[in-house]
Amino acid sequence: MTPLATAARYARLTWHLSAVSVHRLTEYRMDFLLGAGGLLLRVICQIAVIDMVFRQVPRIAGWHYHEVLFLLGFSLLPRGLDRMFTDQLWILARKLVQNGEFFRYLIRPVHPLFSLLSERFLYPDGVGELLTGAALTWYAAEHLDLSLSAAQWLLAPLLVLCGTLILAALKTLFASLAFWTTSSFPALYAANQLGDFSGYPLDLYHPSLRWLLTWLLPYAFTAYVPASYLLHGHTAMLPWLFVVTAGLVMLALVVWHRGVDRYEMTGS
């Protein structure tokens, strides 16, 4: 198959599998409401903290109130998209290697990573996160009277996509460690927790943390860098965004493949 035909096939499969997954939204309505409710509560708390801070000072590290809200909202877009399509990686990290069930992704005629992810396409929590993020971004943009240039409009979806890929790659990387350690849940959890920092201006943090979030676990490129570009027109880091995305995705795939190759199905 040509690469184009392969891509078309996977796009078609994603569409069909997502359609089937919509069942889950109705099947597990309570889960969905709980997940969405919990998420909303978290975002409200984050906004409350921001509110409180801005009652004391007009600007933080050069960021206005609505700019910070925009950043927070924007950070939820890649996070929501990532969660909508890669939530099964949590299960991989937690138990799929341990209990031997990973085998089933190796006996389907599709890429094992796709096969794995497809079991939780359109994960409800992710849908909620994406919608909340979109609403918050839109609300903040309205208040900022934000007007994007043509280039910014063009790049914005690409930036969200790159952010999603970075998050998915980080998750794949840490979840794949399970192939060596049978369970990598604590590592994945810790890495994911650090991602919460990405919803605030990086200028707030100590340079070492900023460096960590930019170059080691590059969450900065999922929200701070694109938001700085859209709000303030900062382009210095943009080329790096694409380099980091490509590099990280490749690294994650290499580690994934190494892991799959050494997979030994336990038990009978």
Partner: protein, 331 residues
Amino acid sequence: MIVAENLVKEFRVPERKPGLLGSLSTLFSREYRLVRAVSGVSFEIPAGVKAAYIGANGAGKSTTVKMLTGIMSPTSGRALVAGLEPYRERRRNAANIGVVFGQRSQLWWDLPVPDSFRILRRIHDIPDAVYRRNMALFRDLLDLDALGNTPVRQLSLGQRMRAEVAASLVHDPKVVFLDEPTVGLDLMLKEAVRRLVNHVNAELGTTVLLTSHDMGDITAICDRVLVVNHGEVVHRGTMHELLRTADTRAVVFEQQGERDHAIDLIEKGLDGASAQPLDGGRIKVEYPVARWTARQVMSFLLDHFEVTDCVAPEPDLEMVLRRIYAGQVVT
């Protein structure tokens, strides 16, 4: 259709040392022990054959099946399934094969069974006609509709197994690997699964490799047998040949006369044979194959008793296997 050439699989198992100091030391330097699960297995299964892969626990059956399905790579040696090396070309191989691991699920855990089939149809690109034909077959034989819209994770083992077997056959695979496919099924459903596998084999020429602890599965499905012990094939041939390796066989008959006397007469007349009463007035005569033929035993019985019924049942597979595992017979 299935070829194994000197398949070897070794696992590295970390050695644990006793005591607290011991477990601390394993944190820094690990010592491994090599465990040879499969040692140089070779066999060939032609297309359309239904083969049983039999062996005691730990004989390396599952490990071999995992290499043949592409889940694991062999340490050395080579496997070919429908002309492909499964662990090198997993995706292309996956299109050719169907797999059931009785202890594990391959269905979509939190979706109802019909959704799993909708997905399988897409990822295997199953033509409409094939999909409809197979789903009708599964509905008929396995009563799949009865599973309704319950998510797979809430199904009982028996309900799930029906769906697992159907899922392994829905795309008309060239080869189907069945590892304990009737685990948790009642007699009726076991029958149904066996009938389905035989039907698919007869209609489509599907090659079957079955591993099971259920002798009923093996005798009802398989025409060829490979027996593995300690990671090596110790017997290969047809089911008939395997059963012929039995060193004792039996004749069961029914007669009019007095039983104790009859038993006495048989054990005296047929050197090395033993006789025991069964229920319903029947008598089972076990005789060493090396000394007597079934024909000789039967004519002896006909000469001495008023025989009203007489059968020579197939040797007991379990007994034959026990002898092979014990290393008494290597063929």
